[in-house]
């Protein structure tokens, strides 16, 4: 069996294994969320001022909230199996439309953050390890420590104060300049311009993590026997670092990045809120307080699927980074 068919079979098997996991997540979330006091009708009626009990009962019947919980769960599962994520009564829109609408901004922010954080994290970690115990190492380590220890919302606000209010280089918030309504290439530039501050803010935290991890990982690899062997057979230090040590040292960083993609969706609530970025995290946060359970369950479902898929991708990347690792 060739290597590629082996990998393909592995992917398919993993996907099948993921189905019961995702189902369990749905059921668990469903009951957890329903344990919260109050429902969507309470919130809607509370916002609307005084609404009569009859009106609220009518709304509950319309939303299906008057059914017993197991029935509600079965209806939900039935819909999920036919790939229907249900309806958000609060937004008066199908959940799938809402999620897709907010998925792209999240993906944009997530991908640019991961790329920025992983690239610079690897670079800084590498630099620190090569220049071990010099001032460069000290500067990088202190930088990593500070960015790791600083709360995200504070970094975000300081970014706004410095780069938006004082220097006026970037807009404070949002994804587009809504006074202008650009189109085409101008819109692309506009969105990129709005993306800069949130991406830097969110990546700083992860950057610190990857820097430290990369540095430690490099140092560990330097102590391995194969490095001694390589030196003994007279390989130049550059070849050793980039040809052997770096490749092996990358594995833990990639693992970490994979695990954190999931966390990034949730962790970006803060950054999305500070920069008014219209992503999934903010949507989840708002729907929790609005008790918009269909929408919340939909977001959780998408997130769990995303985590499963990303972990699968990471496992496959392993094979390429380190041919010794076999899929089975």
């Amino acid at each position: 069996m060739s290597r590629s068919t082996q990998i393909l079979r592995y992917i398919i098997r993993r996907l099948f294994q993921a189905v019961p996991i995702v189902l369990a997540i749905i059921v668990l979330n469903f009951f957890l969320l329903n344990m919260a006091e109050g429902d969507a009708v309470d919130v809607l009626a509370g916002e609307a001022g005084s609404a009569t009990p009859e009106y609220m009962a009518e709304l509950r019947a319309k939303f299906g909230l008057d059914q017993p919980l197991p029935v509600q769960l079965l209806v939900y599962l039935k819909n999920i199996i036919s790939l229907d994520l249900g309806y958000s009564f609060r937004h008066d829109m199908p959940v799938s439309v809402l999620i897709v609408d907010r998925f792209w901004p999240t993906l944009l922010l997530m991908v640019s953050t991961i790329i920025l954080a992983v690239l610079f994290g690897i670079l800084l970690g590498l630099l620190a390890a090569i220049n071990l115990n010099t001032w460069k190492d000290a500067v990088i380590s202190v930088f990593a420590l500070i960015t790791y220890a600083t709360p995200l919302f504070w970094v975000g606000l300081m970014m706004i104060v410095v780069f938006s209010i004082n220097l006026r280089w970037f807009p404070t918030s949002g994804m587009e300049n809504i006074a202008a309504f650009y189109e085409g290439f101008d819109r692309f530039v506009d969105i990129t311009h709005h993306l800069v501050l949130p991406t830097i803010t969110l990546s700083l935290f992860y950057l610190a993590l990857y820097t430290r991890l990369m540095r430690a990982s490099m140092l560990e690899q330097y102590g391995q026997d194969y490095v001694v062997t390589a030196r003994a057979k007279g390989l130049p230090e550059r070849r050793i670092t980039f040809g052997h040590v770096l490749r092996n040292a990358l594995l833990p960083v990639v693992t970490m990045a994979g695990v954190q993609v999931g966390a990034l969706i949730g962790g970006s609530v803060i950054v999305e809120s500070v920069f008014a970025w219209p992503g999934l995290g903010m949507l989840a946060f708002e729907s929790l307080f609005a008790r918009d359970l269909n929408l919340l369950l939909g977001i959780f479902l998408i997130s769990s699927v995303l985590v499963v898929v990303v972990n699968l991708i990471v496992d496959v990347i392993y094979c390429f980074l380190d041919p010794r690792i076999e899929v089975s």
Binding site: A36, G38, D42, M56, I165, R168, E286
Partner: protein, 526 residues
């Protein structure tokens, strides 16, 4: 190199974009809408953020100026018969809905009878005396009333009673009609797009019935969840107008020092918010009116205003707000000291036989707090301290909105709750719901959660609602306030003053008593 130049040119244009609205007419007003509204259906929800957007699209029969005087909008004039039971509105001619259909008296009759009276949270109250509406021609609407309803004429603004198109609602399920998210009105701005999580965009109605208006080409309401970022956007000029404390007081007092930013407390008199404590008057430690009076005596209202709300507010002096002074309904009452009086509060508790134990504690209780922001948490901390001084030891409880609503208005599982109520332009609309026996409505929010019931008061409330004679009405409400100052099922703390923070570039947006809930038709950028 050429590429780089074009890139920088675009960046430069972006910056110019922020200052591009410096023209006399035209331009885009970006303002803050906080939080994001649940829908645009202002005819079935009085939710605040809907009020920030919908009155630019829908209009009412009236608007009101800052002195509370009527400004005619969809009505050209009105007259009330001598017995007060017939109100005739002459409607404006040549008004078109945004979809091109003509606005007629049928729309008014349908809106009031089939929409507001049935589905609006406050409509059944505002229009409760209306039995039918006659439409002898397409520009006359005659309201037939069971009893005189003087308060009704205060509830005809675009925010409180928006007139909606009959041809788009008739025969549909009003609560889930398409119109809810795609509003079509007669107002100065047309609904264009609602990008969830970002903004709602309204464009100029070129066929608006007032010639030359509106000045603005476009109005965009932006949703920014974080308060500090909202302040930054205001500071940066990205948004020009922020009402209902979207920019918190703590930042507003700093921003108003700038030349280009001002602050006003105008535009909230029709909303008339009052901060208060609701008690469980039926059971528990606060069922005794003397305890509630003692609490009212102990609280230093001025201290709360100065230290928690940055000086914006007026100490409450009665169950009614001083905003009812012009209509003659307000009367100053005892038991609402501006400065706390710990000694008399203690004496009152002693004489009521509520003695302190060995630790100086008379009552232990949980104080619930309205989950609408940090200010209320701080108010709770102050109350905990000051009431501790008279031997009432409190624990604070701060939950999220649905849990809190359920606790207070459905389960009645509380003894003491900090809240604020809109008293609205007339006590019948905003105050009666808090005290009447008929307003003990389990599961309905913002009504009589104290479950206080007093038949004498009920009778007074009923006659206050239907009394057409202004002097007699004044007398009735004086008695009502006396009873409430004695029994205090609710202790009023202070009249809230919400803040509107605005860029001085924006002019002409401050003439309505509805403030941010008005139309912006005369707003322009200087």
């Amino acid at each position: 190199m050429k590429k780089r130049i074009s890139f920088f040119t675009i960046i430069t244009f972006l910056f110019l974009g922020f200052s591009a609205y410096a023209q006399k007419s035209g331009g885009t007003l970006v303002y803050l809408v906080q939080p994001e509204p649940p829908s645009m259906a202002s005819y079935i929800s009085t939710s605040g953020p809907i009020g920030l957007v919908a009155p630019k699209i829908y209009e009412g029969l009236f608007d009101y100026d800052n002195d509370g005087k009527i400004i005619y909008v969809l009505a050209e004039s009105h007259s009330v018969s001598s017995d007060g039971k017939t109100v005739t509105f002459k409607l404006r001619k040549g008004v078109k809905w945004h979809d091109g259909k003509s606005f007629t008296s049928d729309d008014v009759a349908f809106t009031v009878m089939n929409v507001l009276k049935k589905f609006h949270p406050r409509g059944p109250n505002s229009f409760r005396e209306v039995t039918s509406i006659d439409t002898p021609d397409s520009h006359t609407a005659i309201f037939n009333l069971r009893n005189p309803a003087p308060y009704m004429l205060r509830a005809l603004s675009a925010y409180e009673s928006p007139i909606v198109p009959k041809h788009l609602l008739e025969g549909t399920d009003i609560k889930s009609a398409k119109l809810g998210n795609n509003p079509v009105g007669t107002g100065p701005f047309k609904f264009v797009e609602w990008k969830k999580g970002q903004y709602v965009r309204l464009d100029k109605n070129k066929n608006y019935w007032r010639p030359g208006l509106p000045y603005l080409d476009r109005v965009v309401g932006r949703f920014v969840p974080d308060a500090s970022t909202r302040t930054a956007a205001m500071e940066n000029g990205e948004v020009l107008y922020a009402a209902y404390n979207a920019v918190p007081n703590i930042d507003a007092v700093r921003l108003k020092e700038r030349d280009d930013i001002s602050v006003t407390t105008d535009g909230y008199s029709m909303i008339n918010p009052v901060a208060l404590i609701e008690f469980n008057a039926k059971e528990g430690p606060f069922a005794n009116p003397a305890v509630r009076r003692a609490i009212s005596l102990a609280i230093d209202r001025q201290f709360m205003i100065d230290n928690i709300f940055f000086g914006y507010g007026k100490p409450a002096t009665s169950a009614l707000s001083t905003n009812f002074k012009p209509t003659g309904l307000y009367a100053s009452m005892p038991n609402y000291p501006a400065r706390g009086d710990i000694a008399s509060a203690k004496a009152l508790l002693d004489s009521a036989g509520i003695k302190p134990d060995a630790n100086g504690v008379r009552i232990r209780a949980i104080l619930d707090l309205i989950p609408y922001g940090e200010d209320w948490r701080r108010a709770g901390e102050y109350l905990k301290q000051v009431l501790g001084d008279i031997g009432i030891k409190l624990e604070l409880r701060y939950e999220d909105v649905p849990t809190w609503l359920k606790r207070i208005y459905h389960n009645y599982d509380f003894v003491m709750n900090v809240n604020y109520f809109y008293q609205l332009p007339d006590p019948v609309l905003g105050v009666h719901r808090h005290y009447g026996t008929d307003q003990i409505r389990k599961g309905t929010h913002f009504v009589n959660s104290s479950r206080y019931s007093n038949s004498e008061l009920d009778e007074l409330l009923a006659s206050g609602a239907t009394e057409a004679n202004a002097q007699k009405r004044t007398q009735i409400y004086k008695k009502i306030q006396e009873i409430l100052a004695r029994d205090m099922p609710v202790v009023n703390l202070f009249e809230l003053q919400f803040l509107t923070v605005y860029n001085t570039k924006l002019k002409g947006a401050y003439n309505s008593a509805l403030g941010a809930y008005a139309s912006f038709s005369e707003a322009y950028l200087d």
